[in-house]
């Protein structure tokens, strides 16, 4: 198979004055993924290349990167879909720790802020907290989120507003308010319907476009806005 040219963003804050692109000519093969190409560099060319990965099957979200102009998961991106020249850089607009590794702390701090777990004051039932198949189906898409940070990195409101909660945190807040077993609607709306929260989303749809799991985050955020509006208008 033809060779692959990998251009990868390199930056070590301890050694480099500024970031630079490094090119590698690598052997191609049928079915190779971008993550495997990065491993090829790590194992045979340059052991100092830094990148995150874990599951290698698109369920952990660790290997989200900016690949040939789009947010993608390196592990599920086939090189053959991109041509023979690859441009791989870290998630844009995030602080680079080294090479392809970015600081995810702000993202996870904001995610934790919306209390992404069941809030309920009622006594747990003897058997289970029942959820109908229809109710489960409604949150199906949202719970496929793997917290990779692609949406957060792609959002212009995040770029300009460092305190903005970001698409993932807001989508998760809606995911819980849309869950019949959860009783934390008021609490989560108070946390998210703030000037640095919901209202900084201007339905730009970058998050939805960037999501490697094809989640319509913008829709969820809009639904949460509607819930906040319904609450002040005297609805539930």
């Amino acid at each position: 198979m033809q060779k692959i040219t990998l251009n990868v963003y390199r930056f070590d804050p301890d050694l480099d004055q500024e970031p630079y692109w490094k090119s590698y000519e690598l052997p191609g093969r049928e079915g190779v993924t971008v993550l495997e190409v990065l491993f090829e560099v790590l194992e045979h060319h340059d052991g100092s290349l830094a990148f995150r990965y874990s599951c290698r099957e698109a369920i952990c979200g660790a290997c989200a990167m900016y690949i040939n102009g789009s947010h993608r998961l390196a592990c599920k991106t086939q090189v053959s879909h991109l041509g023979r020249v690859l441009w791989v850089s870290p998630l844009p607009h995030m602080r680079v720790i080294k090479d392809l590794v970015v600081d995810m702390d702000p993202f996870f701090e904001k995610y934790k802020l919306i209390k992404p777990y069941l809030l309920s004051n009622s006594k747990p039932p003897e058997k289970e907290r029942y959820q109908s198949p229809d109710e489960r189906r409604y949150i199906d898409e949202m719970i496929s989120c793997i917290l990779c940070g692609s949406c957060y990195s792609s959002c212009p409101s995040v770029w300009t507003g460092e305190h903005y909660l970001g698409p993932a945190a807001l989508m998760w807040a809606y995911r819980f308010t849309a869950d019949g077993r959860d009783e934390g609607d008021a609490e989560r709306l108070n946390l998210t319907a703030q000037e640095g929260g919901l209202w900084r989303c201007h339905t730009i749809f970058n998050c939805t476009e960037a999501c490697p799991k094809n989640i319509n985050l913008t829709h969820s955020i809009q639904q949460l806005k509607k819930k906040a509006a319904a609450r002040v208008l005297g609805g539930k």
Binding site: S157, T160, G161, E162, H163, Y164, L189, N190, A193, Q194, E195, G196, L198, W199, R200, H202, K225, A228, A229, R231, V232, L233
Partner: protein, 115 residues
């Protein structure tokens, strides 16, 4: 307790947007389509602004467009994560600008009533 903030501003922007579509519709229709041959001249405006209907429509257009524009500007500035204190000041300044512009515009609109 309701600790939500910014809901009314968001809701107001949507409502004023929808109202503006109708008011601008009336405005454009009257100015450009009722009599396409007629240019906008002083006498025509003076006659129109002696009708209570047009004054009400234009006052509403003035109020809603000022609200929509200034609230939109506030939204743009808030996108840059300014402090809560600065945001409060900004709201007051924009409200004052809006009220002053409305009073000035309203006086102009009603100038022909007493003629």
């Amino acid at each position: 307790m309701n600790g939500m903030k910014g809901v009314w501003a968001w809701l107001g922007q949507r409502v004023s947007g929808v109202v503006l579509v109708f008011l601008l519709g009336i405005h454009l229709w009257v100015l450009h389509f009722v009599d396409p041959g007629a240019g906008v001249v002083f006498q025509g405006v003076a006659i129109r602004l002696r009708s209570v209907f047009f004054i009400v429509v234009d006052l509403a257009l003035l109020a809603f467009s000022l609200y929509h524009g200034l609230n939109g500007l506030r939204t743009v500035i808030l996108d840059y994560s300014i402090s809560e204190k600065a945001a409060r000041k900004l709201t007051w300044v924009l409200t004052a600008v809006g009220v002053a512009a409305f009073v000035y515009g309203a006086l102009g609109l009603m100038a022909f009533l007493s003629v």
